[in-house]
Amino acid sequence: MTELSTTLFGLLIIGAAVGGAAVLTWFERRLLGIWQDRYGPNRLGPFGIFQVLADMLKLLTKDDWVPPFADRFVFILAPTVIVIVMMLGFAVIPFGPELQVIDLNIGLLFFLGMSSLAVYSVLLGGLASNNKYALLGGLRSAAQMVSYEVFMGLSLMGVVMLAGSFSLRDIVLAQEGLWYCIPQFLGLVTFTIAGIAESHRLPFDLPEAEHELTAGFHTEYGGMKFAMFMLGEYVGLILICCMMTVLFFGGWMGPLLPPIVWFCIKVFVLICFFVLLRAAIPRPRYDQLMGLGWKYMLPLTLINLLFTGAFLLVMES
């Protein structure tokens, strides 16, 4: 791709991610509604789709207020961080054989790096608010994300070993014939769990935990800055689903339909799965979540690594 078309494609991806996240807010509420014996937002436009516009209008026109007791600069910076790093994460995703903003040879590491940076957003937002609930939310998110980061990275090493590359494009190409969701099933499970924790959605929404911390780290946020946090969360959800598609479900590969369509279908199904998780599972306690991470998930990923390594050694010799 030429430089210009790469730029255009990048912008297109950003537009699609933001648009997708906006539609996702509506889609999630409708889907939850169906599963919970109720309608969800169904009044505006066909199936209520214009609810997205109404929500956007409301959030955009709200008073852009910064609490007088907050650390003004950091308070404003925090929500922008999450949106920017989540958007950057999309740069390395191969949507099709030729559809990729940039094919970094360390694409996977780049993604992990970006998702680690997202924790700063939540942490800084919680600290800068100068509110006790926000502080507790920020603290929780720091601990939660740092712990889950560890085996999020490790859970993907099995994939890297099998593919022999950090480039996401190569990883997809290496899945020709057998998607990694089968040989790397343990990796898939642990990555999914780490993914929910990273995107801090229910059941792992402890930094937010509305029943305990009212709204956790974004208690003091409103209007557009709140919308940025939400945008970051939903873009993050799409990003995680894209990564799962790329790493475990053969990326764009599939018969008959064009590659990009296959990619979108896979991402869509995964998003539905994440919404279902949200509808079905209660929230564990903070220390239980940590216990789960360190006591079960980390050993599981290590076992996975061990077996993958052993398997590769046996195959080679």
Partner: protein
């Protein structure tokens, strides 16, 4: 059928009089037959200490302003303090009264004997200005600290129109603002320990999980709760004061709003007390209709509990299913009573109307469909391992502690205390029904939920028996206090006309006396202690609710736990703030 044993007075009163013959006690006969004894305040603590082993549960402590009472019992002076005791084993109540004058309104505090007296005595101080010497923290509990006067005294105005117009000038505003400032010392909490400084977190009065307007000041070390001090009174509406102004009948709608999830269950506690005072017997059909409606509301209340309980531990979906069921239930309630949450449908001596045509089909459809749905919820919520991890062993108390703190209802049974008023001291006709009393054994948050879920099934069983055995007959008793004479006959002679006129204009005049009939309401013991002075309205209405002691006990079971645990506990104790503050 359950063979309920109604133990008559087992001789506690005679025994007391015999053991402490020099205490100068006097007996009072009340309409409800509860042994009632007047004790001079000098000997009050002796008597209470003596009664403590036999009656481990302090149900209630409250005041009565006797100054305007015509038919006051002999030992009464200006104010009376009433201690209402209960024994689970003997299934008996006991009442101790102490009398004080206005100039010297001091009685010794009962907190050394029953720790649960703490909040009740604060309330009596708040409402009557009766001082309890030796009380650890005698501050206002329900009204704001800046309140002037004592609200339940007879000379305190009951309506805004009896007072000066309200104004808030700047000075007053400063004073009010200052009164709201949070000083941990005033709440009995230190700012720092030897090695760490505590964080104080103000949970509520507006917080998603406190079920209404309830505030808890938390003393935190990290996220660990060092101490939790509840602050109540935000939902106070002066129901007891209103009881002194409304006629016997027109107070019924106010009772609906005490435990606002319990609907007609509140009516039941009230009308039973009035009927006891007036000696009214109700026809069999009324009994069964009342029980059916009360059990429908028990299910409704428990469904709300069930849904919010799992929602508060973070499961998002079940509450919607349970509210959908409750909606169907309200459909039935609406068809029968015309109301939904607050039907105000029971009447003194009966119910407002007969059952409508086709009620049985509605009820049958509902109770037929519920068991399968409950099985489904069981799998979805109660068997969920995360729900169990969050609630098993959290906020546990023993049966003894529960009794000591006045915990009643399902929360008491969750700790393994096998007691249910409906079975063990039947009222309103429960002796004719066959049902089981589910028990827990750990007394923790999970068991409190388990017991309530099982109670839904038992209530369904009771409703089915109502459905199959609904007696024919009148829906109100033919008693002169409850039913005006037939209209045709009023046109025949003047006496009947006068009687009819008085009955529908002033309402009935209930004979002087005192009565209190505790019932097993949705959340525990609910009772209305009514004092009649022979007038058309109550002289004193004391509402004993199960939620009040439950909140008093909250700090005890939440110390040392985390904030999420506190939320799980709050979700599991099943209270509504209107039931606490009244």
């Amino acid at each position: 059928m359950v063979n309920a044993v109604v133990t008559a007075d087992s001789g506690a009163l005679e025994e007391l009089l015999a053991t402490l013959p020099d205490a100068g006690m006097a007996q009072q006969i009340t309409a409800d037959g509860t042994p009632t004894v007047w004790v001079p305040r000098e000997r009050l603590l002796d008597v209470l200490r003596h009664l403590r082993p036999g009656f481990p549960m302090l149900l209630d402590v409250f005041g009565i302003d006797e100054r305007l009472r015509q038919n006051k019992p002999l030992p009464a002076q200006d104010f009376t303090v009433v201690y209402h005791l209960f024994s689970v084993e003997r299934r008996e109540e006991f009442r101790v009264k102490a009398s004080v004058s206005e100039a010297d309104a001091v009685v010794p505090s009962a907190t050394p004997v029953w720790p649960a007296a703490n909040w009740y005595e604060r309330e009596a101080w708040d409402m009557f200005g009766i001082e309890f010497s030796g009380h650890p923290n005698l501050r206002r509990i329900i009204l704001p600290p800046t309140w002037e006067g004592f609200a339940l005294r007879k000379d305190h105005p009951a309506r805004a129109t009896e007072m000066e117009p309200f104004s808030l000038d700047e000075d007053k505003q400063v004073v009010e603002q200052e009164a709201l400032r949070f000083r941990p010392e005033e709440w009995g909490m230190d700012r720092a320990s030897d090695d760490s400084e505590f964080m104080f977190l103000n949970l509520g009065p507006n917080h998603p999980s406190v079920h209404g307007v309830f505030r808890i000041a938390l003393q935190l070390d990290g996220e660990v709760i060092v101490d939790a001090v509840p602050d109540i009174g935000y939902h106070h509406r002066g129901a007891e004061k209103m009881g002194e102004r409304q006629s016997w009948h027109t107070f019924i709608p106010y009772t609906d709003r005490i435990d606002y999830l319990g609907g007609v269950m509140n009516n039941l506690a009230y009308v039973l007390s009035v009927e006891k005072l007036a000696g009214i017997e109700v026809p069999p059909r009324v009994k069964v209709i009342r029980i059916m409606l009360a059990e429908l509301f028990r299910i409704s209340s428990h469904l709300v509990f069930y849904g919010t309980f799992v929602q508060d531990v973070g499961q998002m979906s079940p509450v919607f299913y349970m509210f959908a069921d409750r909606e169907r239930l309200f459909g039935i309630v609406e068809a029968i009573t015309g109301g939904r949450m607050h039907p105000a449908w029971f009447r003194i001596g009966g119910v407002a109307q007969d059952l409508p045509k086709g009620w049985d089909t509605l009820v049958r459809d509902f109770i037929d469909s519920m068991p399968a749905r409950l099985d489904h919820y069981q799998k979805m919520a109660m068997d969920n391992s995360i729900v169990k991890d969050r609630t098993v062993g959290i906020g546990a108390y023993s049966g003894e502690e529960a009794v000591e703190w006045g915990i009643t209802g399902a929360s008491l049974r969750a700790a393994g205390v096998d007691f249910d008023l409906r079975r063990d001291r039947p009222y309103a006709g429960y002796e004719d029904f066959d049902f089981e009393v589910p028990l827990g054994h750990r007394g923790d948050s999970y068991d409190r939920a388990v017991v309530r879920v099982e109670e839904i099934r038992q209530s369904l069983r009771i409703i089915r028996q109502c459905l199959d055995n609904m007696p024919e007959g009148p829906y109100k008793s033919d008693h002169r206090h409850t039913t005006p004479p037939p209209k045709e006959r009023t046109l025949g002679d003047i006496e009947t006309l006068i009687h009819h006129f008085l009955n529908v204009s002033w309402g009935p005049a209930i004979p002087p006396g005192e009565a209190c009939v505790p019932i097993e309401a949705t959340k525990g013991f609910n009772s209305y202690h009514l004092v009649s002075d022979g007038g058309t309205s109550s002289y004193r209405t004391r509402i004993r609710t199960p939620s009040f002691p439950a909140l008093q006990q909250l700090p005890l079971i939440s110390r040392g736990l985390l904030i999420p645990d506190l939320i799980a506990i709050i979700a599991s104790i099943d209270f509504v703030m209107a039931d606490v503050d009244r």
